[in-house]
């Protein structure tokens, strides 16, 4: 190997890792790397804000399962990544962030644009590195990719001082074996204990009212085929979390859609009354469980997860199985094929009861409204895209409507910030997803508040001609906070009114994008149709929706499913829920 500059070693490793796109924004400490990127054989997307770059890399990673790559300079460039890294960390998204650092001999002197980036990002990354010697550079970068994509995936940051990117070194590309040897303490557990799997199979055979509760881990493990097989062979209804959307096709007769705070009536009733809960790559988040000691009170729990730390974290489980969801499900299926579930009357009536709940309490809204209902917009987006588009969302009411009223069929179809709940995520994530999947229609369903938080990066989408669509469900409110104020703070609308806002149509046009607007229900389809016909630029659609529409049903934070709030006029057994068994 000839001698190479540190910056060129960085590019070599990115090529070795088959990176095809890098998102970022240069600055002083990372200039040498950007110089090397000038001739690099992969796409280099210049964003208008480092946070947007991080969300784009995140959207790219979520849409493909590949590792997303983001670059930023030292100090403010790196600190701007923090929210993006925390977002990826909470949702287990594989990212590698490469940040410039001030030269080695300036570290610790409060130099210009210096920040302790490994210190700041330690709790929001899966791991991070500060390179102190050019001899370690290639190995550390390869370790970063390895750690990011294996086990429970997550973001890894590599901080490289400027002098190291400028030094020259006669290096050899480290092999996978070198990487594994450098990480003796890192051994993700994939296989799943067979004795535990047998115990799980036994519980499944004994159960009368089983439910599958599926989370993002099933998406990450690409386990849709296994999940469908397991659900069908043992006839177990499936509910998914926000992160688990698409892991199980939502048009399947056994699909119960989302559970939890804004879960469907039938999913929550089914979970509440179940006698066996099979958690697959989900982590018993408080937004799912509500009041923990009344969560599925009669159910035994099987928990399949790749992360041992997720097990028995918030709730005690009866049969923990640590392993890759796909591999564990395959073994579980084999076990159930060896000795199948015997079909009996109790299980038959369980399915029938759930069918009844589904018919009596579908997701609903006022379809006769003369004002545009946000749910209607999402339904029309579903119709016009035939359920095939990749949808991203920011955080708030619009995110919940996007989750509830679009039926997701395939994994990686719904991209949103579930764990951290990062406003401003939806649009840049859509740009990243569209760059990763140009074959797919990608639509960001955004709120007016959320969209404004990364509005600057319309310029990036225009510059690279990324034809993403943005549908703003514009209620001129921080809608979810307003909803909570209405329900729990006596309608005292403190700091939630966003009626001072830009004209989104003119704003889009000023960036060189297309702006469209609908103010009446009759205009919605027309606007969507026009947007879908444009494929060389971003399109921003502004839907003036009912300002005070609420996301329902709702289980208030920390409450039991029994206390679910339904639509006005809708009568449920929720308030007087009792166990059917």
């Amino acid at each position: 190997m000839p001698k190479k500059r540190g910056a060129d070693i960085v590019v070599d490793v990115l090529i070795e890792e088959k990176v095809d796109t890098v998102f970022g924004l240069p600055g002083g400490a990372i200039m040498e790397v950007y110089d090397a990127l000038f001739n690099a054989p992969f796409k280099n997307i210049l964003t208008r804000h480092e946070l947007a770059a991080c969300h784009m890399a995140d959207g790219y990673a979520r849409a493909t399962g590949k590792v997303g790559v983001v670059m930023a300079t030292s100090g403010p460039g790196a600190t701007n990544l923090v929210t993006g890294l925390a977002t990826a960390h909470m949702d287990s998204v594989p990212l590698v962030a490469i940040t410039g650092q001030v030269p080695t001999h300036y570290i610790g002197t409060d130099a210009f644009q210096e920040a302790d980036v490994t210190g700041i990002t330690r709790p929001v990354t899966k791991h991070n590195f500060l390179v102190t010697d050019i001899k370690d550079l290639a190995l550390i970068l390869r370790e970063a990719f390895y750690i990011a994509r294996t086990g429970r995936p997550g973001p890894v940051l590599v901080d490289i001082p400027k002098d190291i990117t400028q030094q020259v070194y006669d290096y050899k590309m480290p092999t996978l074996k070198d990487v594994e040897e450098a990480l003796p303490g890192y051994k993700p557990h994939y296989e799943g204990n067979i004795a535990q799997i047998k115990k799980a199979a036994k519980l499944i055979r004994q159960a009368k009212r089983p439910i599958l509760y599926v989370g993002g881990g099933a998406v990450a493990a690409e386990a849709q085929e296994e999940l469908v097989k397991l659900a069908e062979m043992a006839k177990i209804p499936v509910t998914t979390t926000l992160m688990g959307k698409g892991a199980f096709p939502e048009d399947h007769p056994l699909a119960l859609h989302m559970l939890g705070m804004h879960g469907t009536y039938y999913a929550n009733m089914a979970v509440y009354n179940s006698d066996l809960l099979i958690a697959v790559g989900s982590r018993f988040d408080d937004r799912v469980t509500g009041k923990i000691d009344e969560f599925a009170p009669e159910a035994k729990i099987i928990h399949i997860d790749i992360d041992p730390a997720s097990i028995s974290k918030t709730i005690h489980v009866d049969v923990p199985i640590v392993g890759d969801v796909k591999k564990v499900l395959q073994k579980l299926i084999k076990e159930l094929e060896r000795k199948p579930v015997e079909w009996d009357e109790a299980r038959e009536s369980w399915i029938k009861l759930i069918e009844k709940w589904k018919i009596e309490h579908p997701l609903t809204y006022d379809r006769k409204s003369k004002i545009i209902k946000p749910e209607y917009v999402v339904e029309e987006i579903y119709n016009i895209t035939k359920g095939e588009a990749i949808i991203t969302a920011g955080v708030g009411q619009h995110q919940m409507w996007a989750a509830m009223f679009y039926k997701y069929k395939f994994p990686r179809q719904f991209i949103n910030s579930g764990g951290l709940g990062t406003m401003g995520f939806g649009f840049p994530a859509a740009v990243g997803a569209k760059i990763a999947r140009p074959d797919k229609e990608v639509i960001a369903i955004e709120g007016d508040g959320s969209f404004l938080m990364n509005i600057q990066d319309i310029a990036t989408a225009v510059q690279y001609r990324v034809p993403v669509k943005v549908a703003i469900l514009n209620n001129e409110f921080l809608g979810m906070v307003r909803q909570w104020q209405e329900l729990f703070y006596d309608s005292r609308y403190s700091s939630v009114c966003l009626s001072t806002q830009p004209d989104f149509v003119k704003l889009a046009e000023s960036f060189g994008a297309v702006g469209l607007r609908a103010t009446k229900p009759s205009e919605v389809k027309k606007v969507l149709k026009e947007a879908m016909s444009i494929n060389d630029r971003p399109v921003i659609m502004d839907f003036a929706v009912d300002r005070e529409e609420n996301v329902l049903p709702m289980v208030p934070a920390g409450k039991s499913y029994r206390e679910m709030i339904l639509h006005p006029g809708e009568k449920g057994e929720a308030e007087t829920m009792y166990l059917v068994g």
Partner: protein, 184 residues
């Protein structure tokens, strides 16, 4: 209907009690590894009673002994999080395993009053400690033992006046003689 609500089942949570835990950890001795470990405790608002760290006989491998007070669930979660760190090689709660604990303390005692010196020397002998530095008005004593022994010694010499106390924190190893197959 109300009766039905009353008869609702509540999910039973396992009971936990707060007690002292000794956690032994082996790590790759890289820059920043200690801050990753302490960060896990700090981020949960959890105080470490003592933490010791030092090289082992293997290159670049350090041994850390952590003593914390906490309930089983929190400690179990912290142990899982410790195992999750990329640089940890092994983590084990040795609280209930036969093990040896040792701590070393350096204690400066006011001995300006000459009548005190004999009494201090007597205690030093009883506790098999050592006087390692003498000045006109102080004795500096080195003592090793488990935490209880050192606490007892400090309580006994406290009335004479303590100028400074420096303790290493607890070191712990599993007893080879009663080892139950697993090693740390």
């Amino acid at each position: 209907m109300r009766e039905e609500i009353k008869s609702l089942k509540i999910r039973q949570m396992p009971e936990t009690t707060v007690r002292r835990h000794v956690i032994a950890v082996r790590v790759q001795h890289n820059v920043g590894v200690l801050s990753r470990i302490t960060g896990l405790f700090a981020g949960r608002g959890y105080n470490i009673e003592s933490l010791t760290v030092g090289q082992t006989h293997e290159p670049n491998i350090a041994r850390i002994t952590i003593v914390v007070n906490g309930d089983e669930r929190v400690v179990e979660q912290i142990i899982k999080q410790l195992r999750k760190l990329i640089e940890t090689l092994k983590v084990r709660d040795i609280t209930d395993v036969p093990h040896i604990e040792r701590e070393l303390a350096l204690i400066k005692i006011h001995t300006a009053d000459s009548s005190v010196r004999d009494e201090v020397m007597r205690l030093v002998n009883i506790f098999r400690a050592k006087v390692i530095d003498v000045s006109p008005d102080t004795y500096t004593v080195e003592i090793t033992g488990d935490q209880d022994k050192i606490n007892a010694f400090i309580d006994l010499v406290r009335p004479f006046g303590l100028k400074d106390v420096s303790r290493t924190g607890v070191l712990a190893v599993v007893r080879e003689s009663q080892k139950d197959k697993v090693e740390i």
